[in-house]
């Protein structure tokens, strides 16, 4: 194995192991409908979280309205369903385009601001989307809408098989992750990171951050739309709650819990949170009494997230044996 490849593998080890575990899960006793449904939800939310991580970790843009893109994707599926169209080749591109268009419109305004203002204005746009969907009375309004059937592909009902759906979600998640990582490593990604670290310097070198950020924002929105379309298929039910600001907060939490430094962290974070929520809500009625404090504690004590936790541990060990640290360096 060549050295750069080994380095890449080691850097992404945790995310790779997670993806492999997800691939193996159906054959290791998690193949029943309930478990697959849960994992599908985790992977779909993971996809949205990876796209948000691209913004937060890559471009330094903390969006508190990312759930809106997911909601728009899901509502596109629902709107086509209500019109009697469920062909995936129409529905999925439409969902992605709609979410990307929303991101383009809102991003063009939001990206003029920065810092706290950006957080607030994305939150405000998210709320606008939320109220819009709850006013669609033909699509159920506040009560939501139950899909007649999952999306078809060329007339076949291939998504009805839970196993197929599982692997579809998994491969799309892997695709989004690899694509996002390549993007961040490219020249485009370097401009984003430079603008995050020091906007003035990026400007001085001749890069106007705005168009780069807008493109990243639209891409993240498109992925959010894809995740939303998948989520509508996974749950076969869509309601405005999907766009609520707490959902956006949850997505942010997935990114942070996983670790902002790496896109793969978001996958881990999403999985951890979906599973934690599910198990806690089975054990306790008022499960958020445990979940909330855990959230606070993780922010206070795990600043690098789960991905960073092993590195922290290792750093602690290396500190204990300075010889090895020198050898590695």
């Amino acid at each position: 194995m060549t050295a750069p490849l080994r380095k890449t593998l080691r850097k992404h080890a945790l995310a790779l192991v997670t993806l492999l575990a997800l691939a193996a899960a159906p054959f290791l006793g998690f193949g029943d409908g309930f478990a697959l449904g849960l994992l599908a939800r985790a992977m779909i939310l993971g996809m949205a979280a990876v796209s948000l991580s691209l913004l937060v970790g890559g471009a330094g843009l903390v969006s508190l309205g990312h759930a809106a893109t997911m909601g728009i994707g899901a509502y596109t599926v629902v709107a086509f369903d209500a019109a009697g169209i469920s062909e995936g080749l129409i529905v999925f591109p439409a969902a992605i385009t709609a979410a990307a268009a929303y991101a383009l419109l809102t991003g063009a305004v939001s990206l003029r601001t920065s810092g706290v203002h950006f957080i607030m204005i994305t939150l405000a746009f998210g709320q606008m989307a939320f109220f819009t969907t709850s006013s669609f009375s033909s699509l159920g309004g506040d009560d939501g809408y139950t899909l007649y059937a999952r999306t078809e592909w060329l007339g076949t009902r291939i998504l009805d098989s839970r196993l197929t759906f599982h692997f579809l979600c998994l491969s799309l998640l892997a695709l989004v992750w690899v694509g996002g990582s390549l993007l961040l490593g490219s020249r485009f990604g370097r401009v984003l990171r430079a603008a995050r670290e020091n906007p003035q310097r990026a400007l001085a070198v001749g890069f106007q951050p705005y168009p780069y950020r807008l493109v990243a924002y639209v891409m993240a929105g498109a992925v959010g739309g894809l995740a939303g379309a998948l989520l509508a298929n996974a749950t076969e039910f869509v309601s405005p709650a999907l766009l609520s600001w707490t959902r956006s907060g949850e997505l942010l939490f997935m990114v942070i819990l996983g670790g902002v430094g790496q896109l793969g962290g978001a996958i881990l974070g999403a999985l951890a949170i979906v599973l934690l929520e599910e198990s806690l809500s089975h054990l306790l009625v008022y499960w958020r009494l445990v979940f909330g404090p855990l959230l606070v504690l993780s922010v206070l004590f795990l600043p690098d997230g789960l991905v960073g936790a092993p590195l922290r541990l290792r750093a602690a060990f290396r500190f204990a044996s300075p010889k090895r640290r020198n050898a590695d360096a």
């Binding site: 706290v116 204005i121 405000a124 709850s134 907060g249 942070i256 499960w287 909330g292 606070v296 922010v299």
Partner: protein, 310 residues
């Protein structure tokens, strides 16, 4: 016409409540550079405590009065437990940790009080009896209690202005907002100052909740709506500016109330009644956010840019 007047008064009164919450939020942000999503929780707790103690003591006013120290204590406790450790962290961590606080406190409220809205005593001496309403225009009776809230909304901002602009403590708060390190170097215990400002903001929000309890449903999640509108208020008004928060709060309150009442009727001129009602309601909910986006588009720092650039 009288309908418009009533809606305008309702809007003012809602704006006043928003200001009470937003003022604390803005102070905390201006002085400690802390985004506190959990500020709405204080508002909710204020309403719950006022409702419960009101029923318990048999007087709404006593309950509302007792809610103040309770909100203050909860604010102190939360500051000591969580927020104190967030001052030096980035905004992202602050958003998340305070989000965790919201989940926890709202769930605790649900566990303690249940999910159903609480019963709240009528403010005695005002709503029920001969003092129930005041004839503001010939033939138009407006509830006195709502006028009392508007009155509070005139007194509290004046007091706040006096506190911040004319007292020593206020001077320290203003100084701490712009040059915290310098103030600390001059021998002021900046941590204590932070704690006091935080607890004071929490108390204001609790007070707003207590005032709101007879007119809005007291239920879990009541803080969220207000919190998000308060962020709109702060962003429109300019982060850290109390004056901006006041004007923006009234603007948002008025827009929201009048929009909800008028938009469906206005749209009826263009659309058929049922779709006018539907679009009107949706547009009314969005109105404040649209205005906010428009204001930020032209003035990214808000109407009255405050001391600290965000």
């Amino acid at each position: 016409m009288s309908m418009l007047l009533v809606q305008a008064l309702n809007g003012l009164q809602f704006g006043v409540l928003l200001f009470l919450v937003a003022a604390g939020l803005s102070l905390v942000f201006g002085v400690m550079d802390l985004i506190n999503l959990a500020h709405g929780v204080q508002y909710m707790l204020g309403a719950y405590v006022a409702a419960t103690l009101g029923v318990w003591t048999g007087s709404f006013w006593l309950g509302a009065l007792l809610a103040l120290p309770v909100a203050l204590l909860v604010g102190l406790a939360l500051e000591w437990l969580v927020f104190r450790h967030l001052y030096r962290r980035d905004h992202l961590s602050q958003v998340l940790a305070t989000f965790g606080v919201i989940l926890t406190v709202e769930e605790a409220t649900r566990a303690l009080w249940g999910s159903a809205p609480q019963t709240v005593l009528e403010p005695s001496g005002l709503s029920g009896g001969p003092l129930g309403g005041v004839e503001i225009v010939a033939g138009l009776i407006y509830p006195t209690y709502r006028l009392v809230i508007i009155g509070v909304g005139i007194v509290v901002p004046l007091l706040l202005w006096f506190l911040v602009e004319r007292t020593r403590a206020g001077m320290l708060v203003r100084a701490g907002a712009t040059h915290p390190a310098m103030v600390s170097a001059l021998g002021v215990d900046i941590r204590r100052l932070f704690t006091i400002v935080f607890a004071f903001g929490a108390m204001l929000a609790g007070f707003a909740g207590a005032l709101a309890s007879p007119i809005f449903p007291v239920a879990p999640g009541m803080g969220d709506t207000v919190l998000i509108l308060c962020f709109v208020v702060i962003v429109i008004g300019g982060v850290g500016s109390i004056r901006g928060a006041f004007i923006a709060a009234l603007l948002v309150g008025l827009l929201d109330s009048v929009g909800r009442a008028m938009l469906p009727d206005l749209l009826r001129l263009l659309l058929d009644p049922s779709s006018a009602r539907q679009t009107g309601a949706a547009l009314a909910s969005m109105l404040v956010y649209i205005v906010m986006a428009a204001i930020l588009f032209f003035r990214p720092a808000g109407l009255f840019p405050g001391g600290r650039s965000a």
